[in-house]
């Protein structure tokens, strides 16, 4: 009921206006605008080089757009243009109210630190200094992402690809962020492992009401995960709307091609 009630008054969580970024003469992304509401999952699809990763880097403050504004509703501060944040403020945001799940677990995990330490790091970063509490919270999150508690003191390099990805998710969600960026979260995983991960993600995102911006080239991922879809091509959003609407009734020639190129699953 609370989720439904909060829908009544809809204040956006993030707004992007005319975000443009190019590399020399090459277009990264051009004139991208959208509004993200709390708890909403947006999928960004497109082929390699379509600009989706550039866009994600801009949105998550890792890349400065050439023009355009990205504003975020910061806890206790209201809407802030993320470009005006200082670097420490941005880094703080990234390890508290935001999360980032990378395609390659090596980019998102500390491979030399135990699973428990990986999950606990964000808590310690925001001042947790009680070992028992930190460990309890780490156990709690490992259970949520279905990692055997016996593995809590093992290093992630001994984990399978799917487990590493689930650990990355736990590591990010432990501070209950309101927005998580995901870059091809299921890339490089076996199909059966992908399904399990997606199902887990879907459950957690809904249970916790987290907003997600997920970049992928896999339409099955967005079909299962995303409420809304943006289709990118050559740096521009060519079509956007409800996920099932865009996939089942695509209007843009490129989206039609994309959808028809996928084997029905």
């Amino acid at each position: 009921m609370s989720a439904a009630a909060s829908m009544r008054t809809r204040a956006p969580l993030m707004q992007a206006r005319s975000v443009t970024r190019s590399y020399g003469g090459n277009i990264g992304c051009r004139d991208v605008s959208f509004t993200l509401y709390p708890g909403e999952v947006i999928g960004i699809v497109g082929e390699s080089g379509s600009g989706k990763s550039t866009l994600l880097a801009c949105l998550s403050g890792r890349l400065e757009p050439d023009s355009g504004v990205i504003s975020y509703d910061m806890r206790g501060r209201g809407f802030v243009d993320i470009q005006t944040l200082s670097e420490p403020e941005r880094r703080m945001l990234m390890r508290t109210d935001w999360g980032m799940v990378h395609q390659n677990p090596r980019d998102g995990l500390r491979m030399a630190v135990s699973a428990g330490g990986n999950v606990g790091e964000r808590l310690m970063a925001v001042g947790a200094r009680h070992y028992g509490d930190i460990r309890g919270e780490a156990q709690n999150w490992l259970a949520k992402v279905e990692i055997d508690l016996e593995r809590i003191d093992d290093k992630p390099r001994t984990f399978s690809g799917g487990m590493q990805q689930r650990l990355q998710i736990a590591r990010n969600l432990v501070t209950t962020p309101r927005l998580v960026f995901m870059d091809e979260p299921t890339g490089g995983l076996d199909v059966s492992v992908q399904a399990r991960l997606l199902d887990l993600l879907r459950g957690l995102v809904r249970e916790l009401g987290i907003a997600v911006i997920v970049v992928t080239h896999d339409l099955a991922v967005v079909r299962l995960l995303a409420d809304r879809l943006m289709v990118m091509r050559r740096g521009e959003v060519v079509e956007h709307g409800l996920t099932d609407q865009v996939l089942d009734d695509p209007h843009h020639p490129y989206t039609q091609l994309l959808v028809s190129s996928v084997l029905q699953a």
Binding site: E87, A125, R129, Y131
Partner: protein
């Protein structure tokens, strides 16, 4: 001065420009306690790892009137300590001592003397690895940002890992500290037993890392807090034994193997402290039989 002049070296080996540069760095380091200030480290006539950083700092602060004490693992008579002491005798012609309270400058590797330091004294630590975050974050660019923004959660992760693996914080030396509530600092590989001595110490504490070309410092009477967890508070080592020679129960003890039949004894690592106590009539369990020479031989063997 005569010794230096005769040897053909500039006073204290380094040229005056270099000493000025290092002194400036020292001032900067003292102004931002715990901050690793980069400096233009010079080639020294000994290999990295033998105290080149400490020697450059000592050479920059020492004057003809100073009295120098050099210790390695607490002992004045181990190879490294003897070499460095001789070096400064040769290039600066300064008086040297083994007595902690007589020294105005103390260069140390791996210990802080047991006798409390006083105002006016300078202690110079030799530092092999100045970056406490290095084990966890190999990228220098990143660790610098972590210091700049005081993002020290990662250091806590290392302590967490200790407790997860061993049930307690197993780090026993180079135990990380927060200086003046701002900078995370590696205290050099001193035993954590010595960490509390850094807190509010009346002496000036200087740290020199030769290979990494970093200097950092703790001004007198500065807060130096050892990191810990609420439910795993910082604790120093303690021993069931007393010093076998001087009967001290408050000093850092080395375990010394005395024969090849399992014989062993615990003795003060601070040789000056131990000798002074014995001179004052304190006698340990084996203090009466064991001549001083034998004990120090054992310690020399123990040092790297």
């Amino acid at each position: 001065m005569s010794g230096a002049r005769e040897s053909g070296y500039n006073f204290a080996y380094l040229d005056e420009q270099t000493k000025r540069m290092i002194r400036r760095t020292l001032l900067k380091a003292l102004a931002a306690p715990g901050y690793q200030a980069p400096f233009g480290g010079r080639e020294m006539p000994l290999a990295y790892g033998w105290g080149t950083g400490g020697i450059q700092v000592t050479a920059s602060v020492i004057g003809p009137e100073d009295v120098l004490k050099v210790i390695d693992q607490g002992a004045d008579d181990t190879t490294n300590a003897v070499s460095i002491r001789r070096f400064f005798q040769l290039v600066a012609d300064v008086e040297t001592t083994e007595a902690t309270e007589k020294a105005t400058v103390i260069q140390t590797r791996h210990r802080i003397p047991e006798a409390p330091l006083e105002e006016g004294q300078i202690i110079v630590y030799q530092v092999p690895q100045p970056e406490p975050l290095r084990h966890l974050e190999p990228r220098e660019v990143e660790t610098r940002k972590m210091h700049a923004y005081a993002e020290y959660g990662l250091m806590q992760v290392r302590l967490y890992e200790d407790i997860a693996r061993y049930g307690h914080i197993a780090t026993t030396y180079d135990y990380p500290v927060m200086v003046n509530g701002r900078y995370l600092m590696a205290p050099s590989p001193i035993p954590k037993f010595d960490n509390p001595k850094m807190q509010d110490n009346p002496a000036i504490q200087l740290f020199g890392a030769g290979r990494e070309k970093r200097i950092y410092a703790i001004p007198p009477y500065t807060s130096v807090r050892s990191l810990d967890f609420e439910d795993h508070p910082f604790r120093t080592q303690s021993w069931d034994q007393r010093c076998a020679l001087c009967d001290a129960d408050d000093s850092y003890l080395d375990e010394v193997i005395t024969d090849d039949r399992g014989g062993r004894m615990f003795v003060c690592s601070d040789t000056d402290y131990c000798a002074r106590r014995r001179a004052n009539g304190h006698v340990g369990a084996q203090g009466a039989i064991d001549p001083v020479g034998e004990k120090t031989d054992a310690l020399s063997g123990d040092a790297q």
